[in-house]
């Protein structure tokens, strides 16, 4: 096992002529919390989409645990242990909260192709569902349809669903966006708790959250890597301050 869980080499992505990501070389250390920050439109989500294979790179290479995944399908990298969340909360709205978690837990069981047995064969997962719900403080919401949850709860549910797969690497795209102070505190605590067990790569605009959680920070601007280091290094960096002027630094 190497100490680098994800490495990108010369990652480039163009959208019909426009270069959104322009030669990004990232190295994410195992069991660290790594934050990706940068002004709007810097290419952070695009980098996420590239790493999680939702987009194909125009150039460059991506290594996951030393294996080349540049041509791997997104579902396949998910099965290898890299699970992402989305900038806009992604839940299964027509399903109940418990069903949302069960659909994640069901995947590693290998029962998903089975169309002849009732879903009672999945009853064994219910204990784990409740544990996860308890962890995010949502046991009371268990049987509610997910679409009707308040936004903060949706994000918490999405987080719990990601956790349900016990991923080696979690990609979180702006987990705090649209949340109130209370929710932010709760989710920050959840992430901090999980950071012991896995690697977390997160995009986040809320710099106080980044300061609290991140071991290492990469700053992206106009598709380029501007700087990298810990919070103190970054906040002292001239180029970073420059890029954020007129931008949205808090």
């Amino acid at each position: 096992m190497t100490d680098t869980i994800i490495e990108t080499r010369g990652l480039v992505r163009r959208f019909s002529g426009f270069t959104a990501v322009d030669g990004v070389n990232l190295k994410i250390a195992r069991n660290s919390v790594h934050a990706l920050i940068g002004p709007n439109g810097a290419g952070k989500t695009t980098v996420f989409n590239l790493i999680s294979k939702f987009l194909a790179p125009s150039e460059g290479q991506i290594l996951f645990n030393g294996r080349d995944i540049t041509r791997t399908k997104p579902a396949e990298v998910a099965r290898q242990g890299m699970v992402r969340s989305f900038q806009i909360s992604a839940i299964f709205g027509r399903m109940t909260v418990a069903e949302n978690l069960r659909i994640a837990l069901q995947r590693p069981t290998g029962l998903s192709m089975n169309f002849l047995r009732g879903d009672t064969v999945l009853a064994g997962l219910d204990g784990r569902v409740d544990e996860l719900l308890d962890a995010v403080g949502m046991l009371d919401w268990r049987d509610r349809p997910a679409a009707g949850l308040p936004y903060g709860r949706k994000r918490a549910l999405e987080f719990a669903t990601t956790l349900a797969l016990d991923p080696e690497l979690m990609l979180l795209d702006e987990p705090m966006a649209g949340l109130g102070t209370e929710d932010i505190e709760r989710i920050t605590a959840l992430i901090a708790g999980e950071a012991q067990r896995r690697t977390i790569l997160m995009v986040e605009h809320n710099l106080s959250v980044v300061a609290e959680l991140a071991d290492r920070i990469t700053v992206l601007a106009r598709g380029n890597m501007l700087a990298e280091g810990n919070y103190a290094d970054i906040s002292a960096d001239e180029a970073v301050i420059e890029a954020y002027i007129g931008g949205d630094i808090d």
């Binding site: 019909s16 999680s52 939702f54 399908k73 997104p74 579902a75 396949e76 998910a78 099965r79 699970v83 992402r84 969340s85 989305f86 992604a90 839940i91 299964f92 709205g93 027509r94 399903m95 069903e99 069960r102 659909i103 994640a104 069901q106 995947r107 069981t109 029962l111 998903s112 192709m113 089975n114 169309f115 002849l116 047995r117 009732g118 879903d119 064969v121 999945l122 669903t161 797969l165």
Partner: protein, 641 residues
């Protein structure tokens, strides 16, 4: 120069010329479809009927004295038609947009397609009622009569004219859209209607004019085609399926793409006629399959972004109407009583189509894929079963199994090809692939062309039950239906069914959880084909015939209509819908061609006014009533606390 590659040049160049002309027609038509899709996001299935209107318009003008004797009207020839008819068809198009199409802009793509299917049926049905299936002749105008003898072939002047005129229109349209300010607005409005609105442009009017323009092109093509082809009510229906295949090949992204692929495919089709005549009708569809394998986004298309299927299910899962534990026994009891209430043959027809519609609902309602060619599986199994039973002398259960295996194999193949594209493309691809089977069945020996396979023996089921006995046959059909229904119900509540729900809800999220969503969709599609095959095979045994009608697009449309009327994505909807549609078809059978008109009208009305279907509406009503009761109960308790 006497022979080229062993082919007489007269034949070679003659077919090349026809191919070029057809290709130009394809180009004009697919350009219209592409423009309309680009601007309105509507898959304009009625384009073929609008083309037919153009051809009939020309014929009307020239036949005015015969059509209205005594009014002293002049006979207006080709040149008049060329000037008057395209604008007239465009005006009809504008009215259609204004009255109908405008209402579905904000709905799922599927509804736009279904609406235009309905309008096509109404228009073509009405012309069929008035003029019958036979074609009308339309002469070449005097000025363009005759031809040039090139030594190796005779070149009719009218065809030269068509080539020149069509090329001018194609490139004129391209220039307008790609090179003018108007075209720039059009393209901008496609991408961002709100932005264009802020420029003070009236977007609704622009949409209407765009639609009218695309339809006008179809009308113009119809006028130009009138002297070459028979003017008949069916002329649009066969061409629209080809046009959809052309659009899938070219990709709807660019006008030039539509022109180039239209012309190229016409020429390829012409050449196939020379070198391999049997394959000529399927050449374009085979090209489509190759393009899907090698370059799924189409030759000129942009990379398709992943987006999930149509979300058109309205079922309330907790509703009592969705509870199979109640409804499977109820259906069983109802089924036992049915043959004592209506003719057993009629009851069997309902059951066969109910199973077919349930199979269709599995893919349309629960996976959200707008499959448009399920008749392929229904019909293939009907033919397979019929052949095995009558020629090979297999027992009914073995024949049925054989038919179902055939349908399932085709389902896996078609699904594998079609799943590469999303949304409207998926509909077009499944439609086109199904059409290949129709052409095949017309030509192959074992399918007996127009006659079909007749007098299929029903035989002894498991060597014990004599299916020639009406009631034995009926109970066999009922048992098959109930097993099929229960199978679907079980599937929907299985771990697999849960994944299907997740995929329909949020495909990207399901992928990020590690589900290879395409594989799940493909399995669901194949299972749906399997069940459609069961329905088709049983139908062949009941009616003792397998015919082209079983493969025809109308049969696919039947399944769709049944599902829509009953309620998409509800477990009972397809059953209710099948009962309604089969009954309607029987009631209107004596009015001949009117059946199609009625069915088309039913499509239009359902899309506009009854999108929830009968069962969905009922579920909604029950659901709301229960909610009100709960609220009332709560407010009554509150003061006591």
């Amino acid at each position: 120069m006497t022979e080229l590659l062993g082919i007489p040049p007269v034949l070679l160049f003659g077919q090349l010329l026809i191919g070029l002309i057809n290709g130009l027609f394809y180009a004009l038509m697919s350009m219209g479809v592409a423009i309309i899709f680009g601007m309105l996001r509507i898959g304009n299935f009625v384009h073929g009927a609008q083309y037919m209107l153009g051809a009939f318009g020309a014929w009307f003008l020239i036949s005015l004295p015969d059509l209205f004797p005594g009014l002293g009207l002049p006979s207006l020839g080709y040149w008049w038609a060329l000037v008057l008819v395209p604008p007239a068809v465009a005006v009809i198009g504008a009215l259609m947009e204004r009255v109908f199409i405008r209402r579905v802009y904000n709905l799922e793509h599927a509804y736009g397609l279904l609406l235009t299917v309905g309008m096509a049926f109404v228009i073509e049905g009405l012309f069929n009622v008035k003029f019958g299936a036979a074609g009308q002749q339309y002469g070449v105008p005097d000025l363009l009569k005759g031809g040039v003898n090139l030594g190796f072939m005779f070149l009719p002047i009218y065809r030269i004219w068509v080539i020149v005129a069509a090329l001018v229109v194609c490139f004129g349209t391209w220039a307008v859209i790609e090179r003018t300010r108007l075209g720039a607005y059009l393209r901008a409005a496609t991408e961002n209607p709100d932005l264009v609105r802020t420029f003070g442009i009236n977007v609704p009017r622009m949409l209407m004019l765009t639609y009218a323009f695309g339809v006008g092109l179809a009308g113009l093509t119809g006028v130009m085609a009138a002297p070459i082809y028979q003017v008949s009510p069916q002329m649009g229906q066969s061409i629209i399926i080809t046009i959809f295949a052309v659009v899938v090949i070219g990709g709807m992204g660019s006008i030039m793409g539509a022109i180039v692929s239209g012309i190229g495919l016409g020429v390829i089709e012409g050449l196939t006629k020379v070198f391999w005549p049997e394959a000529s009708s399927t050449a374009i569809f085979i090209c489509m399959a190759l393009v899907l394998i090698l370059r799924p986004q189409g030759l000129f298309g942009k990379e398709t972004s992943a987006h999930s299927g149509a979300d058109i299910t309205i079922a309330r899962r907790e509703s009592i109407l969705e509870n199979g534990r109640i409804w499977i026994p109820v259906l069983a009891i109802g089924g036992l009583l049915l043959p004592y209430l209506v003719y057993p043959v009629f009851a069997m027809k309902i059951l066969c189509f109910a199973l077919f519609a349930c199979a269709y609902n599995l893919i349309f309602g629960y996976v959200g894929l707008l499959a448009f060619g399920h008749a392929a599986f229904f019909g293939a199994s009907a033919y397979g079963t019929a052949h095995l039973a009558s020629v090979w002398g297999w027992s009914p259960e073995a024949s049925l199994l054989g038919g179902v295996v055939l349908a399932t194999g085709l389902g896996a193949l078609f699904g594998w090809l079609a799943i590469r594209r999303q949304g409207l493309y998926f509909a077009m691809i499944t439609l086109a692939l199904a059409q290949v089977l129709v052409f095949y069945a017309v030509q192959a020996n074992w399918t007996h062309g127009e006659d079909g396979i007749q007098s299929v023996p029903r035989g002894m089921l498991f060597g014990v039950f004599d299916l020639n006995d009406m009631m034995t046959m009926y109970f066999f059909v009922l048992a098959v239906f109930l097993i099929g229904f229960a199978f679907i119900y079980r599937l929907l509540r299985s771990p697999f069914g849960q994944v299907l729900r997740a995929i329909r809800d949020n495909e990207a999220r399901a992928t990020s959880l590690g589900y290879s969503t395409e594989r799940f969709k493909l399995i669901a599609f194949t299972l749906s084909a399997l069940l459609a095959g069961v329905a088709g095979g049983v139908k062949a045994l009941v009616f003792q015939i397998a015919s082209l009608a079983d493969l025809h697009f109308m049969t696919s449309a039947d399944a769709l209509l049944m599902t829509l009327i009953g309620g998409v994505g509800t477990i009972l909807g397809p059953v209710v819908g099948a009962a309604i549609v089969v009954t309607l078809q029987r009631e209107f059978a004596e009015f001949g061609a009117w059946v199609i008109v009625v069915q088309g009208a039913a499509f239009v009305l359902c899309v506009l006014f009854l999108r929830q279907g009968v069962v969905g509406t009922l579920e909604n009503w029950l659901g709301r009533r229960a909610e009100r009761a709960r609220e009332a109960g709560l407010s009554r308790r509150d003061p006591a606390e």
